[in-house]
Symmetry: D2
Subunit: 315 residues, 4 copies
């Protein structure tokens, strides 16, 4: 198996039969912003060692401000700790592949190419997020031309990513973070149009809670095209401190026999990445102790997945 | 009873014993944007006649763009149809009482005074919404000075409103629509500081679903300081088409013996107020038939309130 | 279309294409015990006229104590009021087709034949309930022989019912009312074994709340084999006064495009059928006013079905 | 502190200030039937060592068939493993303090005295369950005389228990397991009548799911009179495999600052106590691996309690 094949093996169900290991648990990840607001070498060491210490299999690095990241150091640390990597980002109004302005689209494409390249250089095979537009509160609906730009850009980037063994995940987010993909249904339509083997849907319970009819239908609609999952509480704090019916969501994952990564995401004023935190409207403190938060989340997710498997086996 | 006293009688629990009518149902309202995107005379006629036809007791008018409203026509139509009125609005960055910039604060105060005056001229006694800041996605947390400006402004406006027999409702909204009041707890703190007899908390299930731990605690925390309620689904569409546990919320209202107004709010691309719809990030069509939506909502709310009363009586 | 064909047309999806009318609402029913504890002529008149007055399309008559029922009067009243009819019952330990004792099985078969005949004589085409055993708290698990008796009995009764144009519904109930069919999955297994075209699954939200993993999976598992639905609250009182996530259930019905009957069931000490009420452990008063309960339930069910349809159309 | 005082210190909030340790976690327990169906010496060794190995603080022993229990062995094993003990049982029709028959009441009193004595001999201070009647499906409502017998019996037993330093917990169970106490409200009324300092309410989420309006109101109604908690899923299997909104329940415990024991209860055909399993209608297999079930449950409960504490601190 080549390095590229090896990378694809985690994330691309339509391309390979790697999910035959149906008795195995999903890999569990955590977003780096649980640990640190930047990716300086010092922060990167903390992020990776804490992720490992909390028992996770994967760390998700946000590429908002990747200039400071030391790629080879990061790659070495990941290997040293035996962790997998996922990368994510959203675009900006200035570099937005869903813009009507071709110059903004070009700058967006450049950011996406950079993201794919960084992912591959880090030894990862998954690059996801709001790859189809700005992660921002738009002030008007998407235009038909803007949507076309997004589809065309994703086709190009999917091709580029395929050569690097990277799968792209289109994260479905709420109305305040995108005017393009707010529901799984919209993402599936876009997947049909982009028509690339290495593009998957990325669902996030925090966003589903705002946009979807429930936590089961979107998962069933995606089926094998669901490639990545974010677990976030309704208030983005401790799992179990908000309103989300997580049992329903984990039952749905079991129904489609989802074997991909499940990554915890949480944001508090305690750990700030100025660009990302303000874009995400993180105004309150919902936790202080990253390790307590993360170990709690890991147990919560593993437990939810386990219970859903038992419910499926003993109904 | 003077006109002012009469107006206050609906909304100001701390000032009067008007809620002794414990056997009576809450008054049910509907937001005008269910019917029309503006308030031209033609639209106003439609809004008021449809509100009545759908069986509601009250219509909530949004004062975003009040210049076109014909106040005396509106007041006459309300009387003719036997409807009560609530007014609402949010401020803008340019006219924001929570700004660090005194000029923006002044412009915000002017908008609030205007809102109170319009409310009184329409024969109403309730003016609510994001009266404490811009209804917008902020790009940074509130500053201590900005918060002070908001408190001072609300004190002044509360005094002004008291003379006109108007109660002010501080609507608690999600992080993308305010950086100041995202939870009932924050609103109660602000009420303590403003310390005026005619300022109440206004809760909205749509926003609670994103920010609060559940649908009961915030209601219990408010108790008699809860003065107005918005019922909105998680996706702002049909009640019952999303993720909100409305039974829990209606049980909570019964627990505090809430006797105030309960108003339905829903937004779709079908009916657009350009300023408001874009501010609220309404990108999708969730319904087309306003009357079906509204009669469904009225039955849903009346049923939920009835069931909670029965649950309380027969436990 | 013969009378028999006409009767089958409502309940037997596998046999006919009668559910192509996808734009139409489900028929809504109510259980007679909402109105009266027996079926004397006077009670029957009340049951049927109140069912009609509350806006329902169908009344479900419990055949516990059918000796007192005047079949021709009942049939005439149904026609006069334009109502459809569903019949239901559970067996007893003494007449139990799942017993190890052949004599008890024979007595159970006789009760089932009687039920089918009454249903047909009333002009109905649906006979459901705990047709496979006693509606009672068993004191030991089902035996393999008992289960075989139940399957064989259902085969025979299904054949008998087919000739009379009657569909049989196996109601899935909680552990305290059967030791045989507590989950949809168990019912589907039994359907496979009985292998008759006129046997369907009958789900009831009250029982699902105790036995199933959630309110969606059992519905999806049944698909076109779901033939009848009971809507009951967790405490068997007012819909919305308990813990059931009805939105999830109605979403599931929309997902399988369910077009069958949806019947409301509720029990209180206010209206007592001594045999049935004690069998169902109705010790508390959860309501007094049958008409308020029933009109509330009808609006709740119609609203839930409507909201789910809208959620499906606008996702 | 005498031994008796020491025993009381865990369970009797009204008598002492022992719950001032508000920063401490609740003690977590597990029901012995997760591990073994009887209490032979061999089984007792297994129950106690597995309880400890799974990380619990307390084991709850069911006294259905206490004749085989070796009390001094059990007490020694508990001390050796550093575990606390809770005892529980329900009565039978033959020995039922809520019976109209004085002889049955006497036999019921004898069973209760025996239970208190065993609890004290084991070094425990909590004896709970259906102490007020038979754990069985009644065939008629409670009579006024039966209820009086129950109250009088509880007064007597409370006095007896007080002398032994034992607190009595009245477990609120569903309609199929009692015709007397199905809701917290009914239990609180009985507490008022019994009027003893060492009688508390014992809530169980499995039963609440069937009888109560939601998972918060009963807890708030009990407040400081809540003395013991059972966590059970709606299907009595894995936590998270059913329909219960546990987040709501844990939030409620945090609201009343509950510091008592929280014990996990689950039943499957895998581990059978013939008398208890049939009384509880355990017909299905919901799990096979006791240790996986128990460690999962412990993490689930600790996580839910932690998340609720965080939600309370950061709202």
């Amino acid at each position: 198996m080549t390095e590229r094949e090896s990378r694809l093996s985690t994330f691309d169900p339509p391309m390979r039969g790697q999910y035959a290991r149906s008795h195995e648990m999903n890999k569990l990840g955590v977003h780096a912003l649980v640990w640190a607001g930047d990716l300086t070498p010092e922060s990167t060491r903390k992020v990776i060692s804490q992720t490992k210490a909390a028992g996770f299999d994967l760390v998700e690095l946000s590429l908002h401000g990747p200039k400071v990241m030391d790629l080879s150091l990061t790659r070495d640390l990941l290997q040293e700790h035996g962790l997998e990597i996922g990368c994510s980002r959203g675009l900006t109004f200035d570099a937005d592949v869903s813009s009507d302005d071709p110059a903004a689209v070009s700058r967006g494409l450049a950011l996406l190419e950079e993201g794919v390249s960084i992912t591959a250089e880090l030894g990862g095979n998954y690059f996801g997020g709001i790859l189809y537009g700005a992660m921002a509160k738009y002030s008007a609906p998407i235009t038909p031309q803007g949507r076309r730009h997004a589809v065309d850009s994703l086709k190009r980037i999917a091709d580029f990513a395929l050569k690097k063994g990277v799968t792209l995940g289109l994260e479905v987010v709420n109305r305040y973070e995108s005017n393009l993909l707010n529901t799984a249904s919209q993402a599936l339509d876009m997947l049909d149009e982009v028509d690339a083997p290495n593009v998957v849907v990325h669902l996030d319970t925090y966003h589903m809670n705002i946009e979807e009819s429930d936590f089961m239908q979107p998962v069933l609609a995606c089926g094998k095209r669901l490639g990545y999952v974010h677990i976030g509480e309704s208030n983005r704090g401790y799992l179990g401190s908000g309103t989300i019916d997580f049992a329903q969501f984990f039952h749905a994952l079991a129904m489609i026999d989802y074997k991909g990564v499940v990554t915890f995401e949480s944001f508090s004023s305690t750990v700030v990445n100025e660009q990302l935190s303000n874009a995400l409207a993180i105004w309150r403190n919902l936790w202080e102790d990253s390790m307590d938060l993360a170990t709690h989340a890991r147990a919560f997710m593993a437990g939810g997945i386990n219970a859903a498997a038992k419910a499926k086996a003993h109904h």
